[in-house]
């Protein structure tokens, strides 16, 4: 068992190293930090540009392999280098990660709980009115891309605010800067900011979960262990919740782990549309400003997130399914 775990962790480490290196090499070849300085007005002298780029290990006149080795040495010491204008990448990304976490945690949790509940109810009464309604709703939601949904929400919120004559929903940023009032007002302000992005994340997630959960429930409802549970005298509700739902949760849990990992770097659209300065927005900004080191650091984080998610999915699977633990 220990050998298996060790082999797996080593494989993960190799995957992360290769993925991050590939991303760095691609970014260093394709992006051009020099253009950031050359586009300035007045244009700095070439020697100044060279010196600055050289200091941040971004000088495209040095051979790629040399830059790569300097960068890799830094990463091994836990230093992801500097952005093109000298900020520390690690500290910057740390702040951004906090913003993203505050944005996605609520949305992902609400979406999964709602989706599992809807899917389970729909599965228990197959072809009932609720089943049909939720199927139509899920298909509709799955057809609406995040870009469209987020913009629709903003349009709706602004219309509603106009109608009510009050700022019911706030559509940009994480909090109102320089807000007067105590902690209560601050909290309310944050909730007003959080409501729409959370909804836009949660509703799409809920649609996916409800489809998975419904099909899993249908599979499990006829399983022998549920019949046994009812036969030994459990009420139908208890048998469904404690035995059927628990086993049927496994795909949902796997999906949860992977979505969470993917959204850490992948909530690009939600963050950009709602003006949250998180990882996804940073990714787009880094590419637009030719920021090689930030791009490489974000890929590293994305790789780590995906592999941690797959590890978490396996652990949760074992926690839910006794067969995995024994076998």
């Amino acid at each position: 068992m220990a050998g298996f775990l060790l082999r797996r962790l080593v494989n993960y480490a190799v995957l992360i190293a290769v993925a991050t290196s590939l991303a760095y090499l691609l970014a260093a070849t394709a992006l051009d930090p020099r253009s950031n300085y050359e586009g300035r007005n007045p244009r700095p002298p070439a020697a100044v540009i060279d010196a600055r780029l050289g200091r941040f290990n971004l000088d495209d006149r040095r051979p790629l392999i040399e830059r790569y080795l300097v960068w890799a040495g830094g990463v091994l010491r836990g230093d992801f280098g500097r952005t093109w204008n000298g900020d520390e990448v690690t500290a910057r990304l740390g702040r951004r990660l906090g913003v993203t976490l505050r944005l996605i945690v609520l949305g992902v949790v609400l979406g999964s709980v709602a989706g599992v509940a809807v899917g389970a109810c729909a599965g228990v009464r197959q072809y009932g009115w609720f089943d049909r309604l939720s199927t139509v709703a899920a298909f509709t939601v799955l057809a609406i891309p995040t870009v469209v949904l987020a913009n629709m929400l903003i349009i709706g919120a602004i219309w509603l605010n106009d109608r009510l004559g009050a700022q019911m929903f706030l559509v940009s940023g994480e909090a109102t800067p320089g807000l007067e009032g105590g902690a209560g007002a601050g909290l309310l302000d944050r909730i007003k900011h959080l409501a729409l992005p959370t909804f836009s994340l949660a509703v799409g997630q809920a649609a996916v979960y409800s489809r998975y959960q419904r099909n899993m429930m249908l599979d499990v409802l006829e399983a022998d262990f549920v019949r046994t549970a009812v036969a030994k005298g459990l009420r139908r509700r208890a048998a469904l919740v404690r035995h059927a739902l628990r086993t049927a949760l496994i795909p949902a849990v796997t999906y949860f782990a992977f979505t969470f990992g993917a959204l850490l770097v992948g909530a690009t659209i939600t963050e950009s549309v709602f003006g949250w300065h998180g990882m996804g927005e940073e990714l787009v900004a880094a590419i637009r400003t030719n920021d090689v080191n930030t791009v490489a650091a974000i890929s590293c984080l994305a790789a780590v997130a995906v592999l941690l998610a797959s590890l978490a999915a396996d652990l949760l699977h074992a926690a839910l399914d006794p067969r995995v633990r024994v076998g």
């Binding site: 995957l15 993925a19 992006l31 057809a143 870009v147 469209v148 990714l283 890929s299």
Partner: protein, 299 residues
């Protein structure tokens, strides 16, 4: 695809139904399949026949109407530049549909080849191919495609299609690999092997055709996945590059003016929603039509 199913052939023994015909009949029997097919045909009609009936072309600018609302003159209104929204949306829908279809076919083909080779040969082939799949799963697709976006300029959107497909085949290839491992043990594969048929011929002639139902469904659902990825990349200007336009790029521009000129946003958004909805409906009905046992459980 031409094997006959005796139990489906019905009473007249003269002409047994082909499998394609049976699947098509099952597909069109359900409302979902009919609706999806109708919506998708409508979308294709709009994208490819629309420009023929529209008096404006996508590159025309009407300097007498900036940001004009829909009217008999401009059916869907005009943009800030004076471009006709109907013509531009049709052109964007063309590109989105073509990109979606090409990516789906390409990525499913890659998944079929990689998965079946890995599952058939096992050993080092398997380990290498699956390691590459893992690596691509770990790499953030959005970031890599966005970094590469300068390469897609100047009409080189086919390269974009290839790169999009490269990041979409991995999960299916793992399913294909698993199914190949079981198919490999069947008698007809063993018979072919003992007759001396080369391995790659066995894979292309016997293994992959036997996975056709899975692959057809996967290709359909990949269309919507590809269109969604393309949309979010194009929204940030990283996808299909000018002079080509796609629905994602139109959405990005339209979202800025949606509040006071709704027609700049809603027609592109609607086109996208209808496309994805119809592709999902078709994929779902196709799965049920190809595998009636699953259909009884999930409508």
């Amino acid at each position: 695809m031409t094997t006959t199913l005796p139990e489906e052939a019905g009473a007249p023994p003269i002409r047994p139904s082909s499998r394609t015909r049976v699947v098509a009949r099952r597909f069109f029997r359900c409302t979902q399949g009919r609706l999806g097919f109708a919506l998708l045909s409508g979308m294709f009609l709009f994208a490819f026949a629309g420009p023929l009936v529209c008096p404006w072309s996508a590159t025309d600018l009407d300097f007498s109407a900036f940001m004009a609302p829909p009217s008999p003159h401009h059916w869907f209104g005009t943009l800030q530049t004076g471009a006709d929204v109907f013509a531009v949306t049709a052109r964007g829908a063309q590109k989105s549909l073509i990109v979606g279809l090409l990516v789906a076919v390409l990525s499913t083909a890659m998944a079929a080849v990689a998965g079946s080779f890995a599952g058939y040969f096992l050993g080092w082939t398997d380990r290498t191919l699956m390691w590459v799949a893992d690596l691509l799963l770990v790499l953030p697709a959005f970031l890599i495609l966005a970094v590469m976006s300068p390469l897609f300029t100047g009409g080189r959107w086919l390269l974009f299609v290839v790169m999009l497909a490269v990041f979409l085949w991995m999960v299916t290839s793992k399913i294909v690999r698993g199914m190949t491992r079981t198919i490999k043990e069947r008698e007809y594969i063993k018979a072919a092997r003992f007759m001396g048929v080369p391995s790659h011929v066995i894979i292309f002639r016997h293994v992959i055709p036997n996975l056709a139902s899975l692959l057809v469904v996967d290709a359909t659902l990949n269309v919507s996945a590809a269109i969604l990825t393309e949309t979010s990349l194009s929204y940030f200007g990283f996808g299909v590059q000018p002079p080509d336009v796609s629905l994602g790029g139109l959405l990005a521009d339209g979202a800025k003016t949606a509040l006071y000129a709704p027609w700049t946003f809603w027609f592109a958004a609607g086109g996208l929603i209808v496309t994805i909805l119809s592709v999902n409906l078709v994929g779902d009905s196709l799965r049920d039509a190809l595998d009636p046992a699953a259909a009884r459980r999930s409508p």
